[in-house]
Point group: C2
Chain length 445, copies 2
């Protein structure tokens, strides 16, 4: 077994597993590459690497290959969807009709309802190949069983959570794309730790039907890829509106650097990444502005937690009543409201959040993009602690699009991501800005 994906790439540089989704799609379109060949390469990478990385909770290679051959047959007839033949991993809190959905919960071992989540259904209609179920923190919620997944960049470290398997699988070249979910920091933090690109779109832009509910007013479907173009590819499938955004000319751009109200939590690795980003932007001719958010934005991290925990109380009530003994203490605590949150506190949390959403959109409208930390720093050592999501909580609560760009490294050579964000529904603009920023940061690296 190779010790790292990089070594595997050296051994077998021609493997299509190492293509980005966009690169692979171009070859699939010309039939230079078949879905079967791509899938075989992905399965080979899984076989080589997953005994170490443990990104997957379920893969049926025979079923995956049968899907690939069927997609090739359809392609031979000239019918290709916009994702035709691309293998996509699915976080195991999202329902798939042809595979179990087990939520990393004892209660749901072998659970296999015959229904696709809406997002999976949309992927299939676009010709994507549903590759397998990626491991997750129990119910994708704070406090449950951790995924078995290791960080593919350093197996001694956490991949982050809760979309642990999805982030690791994409970063480690098992699949070019994977779906995840974010309620606190479950997309952007593991993307930062594993060195993947990821988007958490504007809240409720992608249909959440069939993804396990944790906190309805926060839960968001997102996805991981290995380039901004790959993120945009899925975005266009999920959000059909036609929006044309001109490429961002950084020499004329106004970029805000938002240290955020929790800057004192940042490791030097993150502080350095943001400082380097700022320098490179200035060198490229961009106008760089420090953005300090006004009161009451400093309350939002605590309010995200309050809302998540309180809404989680109704989310886990069914399991609490039916499977109390098998339910992790953390979820019992959600239902029992051990935090003692009152309805008035919840109401106030909703109202302050809503007020800040409107204010943030006004503030953000003054910039071409906002750059902010994705995580405290490099991935922590060990699997017990999946890292703090404190740099993600506010943005999730604000409902704004967030894209992680994995363009920096910390003192241990491990990825340190930055988040590109903007107003609600500016996802196309944020993706375009992320493309320009990513090119700048990597090009000059």
């Amino acid at each position: 077994m190779s010790h790292s994906a990089a070594e595997n790439l050296q051994k077998n540089p021609q493997s299509p597993a190492f293509l980005t989704a966009t690169e692979a799609l171009a070859r699939l379109r010309t039939r230079e590459l078949t879905a079967e060949a791509l899938t075989l390469a992905c399965l080979a990478q899984v076989k080589e690497r997953d005994p170490l990385v443990k990104a997957w909770s379920f893969i049926d290679p025979e079923h995956v290959l049968a899907q690939a051959r069927e997609l090739d047959r359809i392609a031979a007839n000239g019918n290709m969807g916009p994702l035709h033949g691309l293998p996509i991993g699915i976080k195991d809190v999202i329902l798939t009709e042809d595979m179990p959905t087990q939520y990393n919960s004892q209660i749901y071992q072998g659970f296999h309802p015959r229904i696709d989540a809406a997002c999976v259904s949309i992927l299939r209609a676009a010709g994507a190949l549903i590759f397998g179920k990626a491991d997750t923190v129990e119910f994708a919620a704070a406090g449950g069983r951790k995924a078995l997944t290791h960080n593919p960049r350093d197996l001694e470290r956490t991949p982050g959570a809760s979309s642990s398997g999805s982030a690791a699988a994409v970063a480690d070249f098992h699949v070019p794309l994977a779906l995840g979910t974010q309620t606190g920091g479950s997309m952007i933090r593991p993307a930062s730790f594993c060195g993947a690109y990821a988007i958490k779109p504007t809240w409720n832009l992608v249909n959440r039907d069939g993804a396990k509910v944790y906190a309805v007013s926060l839960d968001t479907i997102g996805w991981f890829g290995r380039s901004v173009a790959d993120l945009a590819l899925l975005y266009e499938v999920f959000v059909p509106e036609k929006v044309s955004v001109a490429p961002l000319d950084l020499s004329k751009a106004r970029i805000a650097i938002c240290r955020s109200p929790v800057w004192d939590k940042a490791d030097p690795a993150t502080k350095n990444a943001l400082a380097t980003a700022s320098q490179k932007l200035k060198a490229a001719g961009a106008q760089v502005i420090d953005l300090e958010l006004p009161s009451p934005f400093e309350k939002l991290v605590a309010l995200q937690y309050l809302i998540m925990r309180t809404e989680g109380g109704s989310a886990f009530l069914a399991e609490y009543r039916k499977h109390y003994e098998q339910l992790h203490q953390s979820f019992r605590d959600h239902v029992d409201n051990t935090d003692g949150t009152t309805r008035d506190q919840l109401r106030r949390a909703y109202d302050i959040s809503a007020e800040c959403r409107a204010r943030f959109d006004e503030i953000a409208a003054g910039f071409d993009a906002i750059l902010t930390p994705s995580a405290v720093g490099e991935a922590p050592v060990g699997l017990a602690f999946t890292g703090d999501y404190v740099f993600n909580a506010m943005w999730t609560l604000l409902h704004v699009p967030c894209v992680n760009i994995p363009c920096f490294n910390g003192p241990n050579g491990l990825p340190v991501g930055l988040t590109v964000t903007g107003p609600r529904f500016s996802d196309p603009q944020v993706l375009v800005a992320a493309e320009a920023l990513s090119a700048l940061f990597l090009g000059a690296a």
Copy 2:
């Protein structure tokens, strides 16, 4: 076949089908009544009446009786849940592992994934008997196929929509309780038309997982019963917090009468109901205050529609892509955004709604209850038009609890309901107020 439930009641007054849930539960607890006997009575009522009313899209009598016998066996062992043995109907947009879920859609004929919605799972854990699937408007959404259901009070008239079957089944004594959903006026309007009690709780208080998504920021699970006590019975199962609310003394109460910004849409029947309610309240010694909501509340009816249609665009994308030919034009229009709603309009709609939620809670805090119309008037003649939900839209958007009390009749002797409402999360207080108001209005009727 009896022409009406009332005739059937005269023929067979001892049938336990005519008990409220609370009355039936008392007898089930003492084992004076078995779940099997209650279920047989409900099935007999269905057999008698449903050929005319058509409330159900699926019932398997054998399976229902098997459940009843199993619940009786469990009860004999001394294990009774808080709803033990009570038959409950489920709107056919909510997943049930032992019955198909067909959404009244051609696409989903025979669709039967093996999974319970969270709310169904909670009911089962409480000992309820899942009786069958109640007919619905296609996807519970504006513009689709209508339910086949007739109004049990006048078969020539609509039962209202979209929870058509659930409302009719409860009003017509097929089951004591049924679940529905509301995104616009899909609980309160059919409750008003059929003469049932109903609650649409505060948004997101009951886990919506497993109910088909229409518009996430509006969709709410609710239920129908034949008394306020019956509504409270289910509320306590779904919302475990302990809240003790003293009975409302109407002679000391401050009750607001809110004609609402769409008062000019009200028929004389509704105007009379509200005027009579006001007189009776004054006669009972209550302080009755006309509540006129300030600007921008007059915008909320239009904003509810805008949000529902726009969020619906992502809700139906999967069907649009996979089953375009079988998808009703109305849902294609949602996806195609034929209204031409912009993202800025949606954002603004979210922000104005949020602002009004906070303001409404402040305003409503000054009253013991707010009374407002449930519908334009009596149920319209025919099944093609299911009635206007204009009197429900604002309250759904405000996320507040709404209880329909069916205490008045129109010129044709058909039910005209009123809505009792209050601030977000005041559901227990609204139920207590509805109990007092309902007793007053019926007692003096």
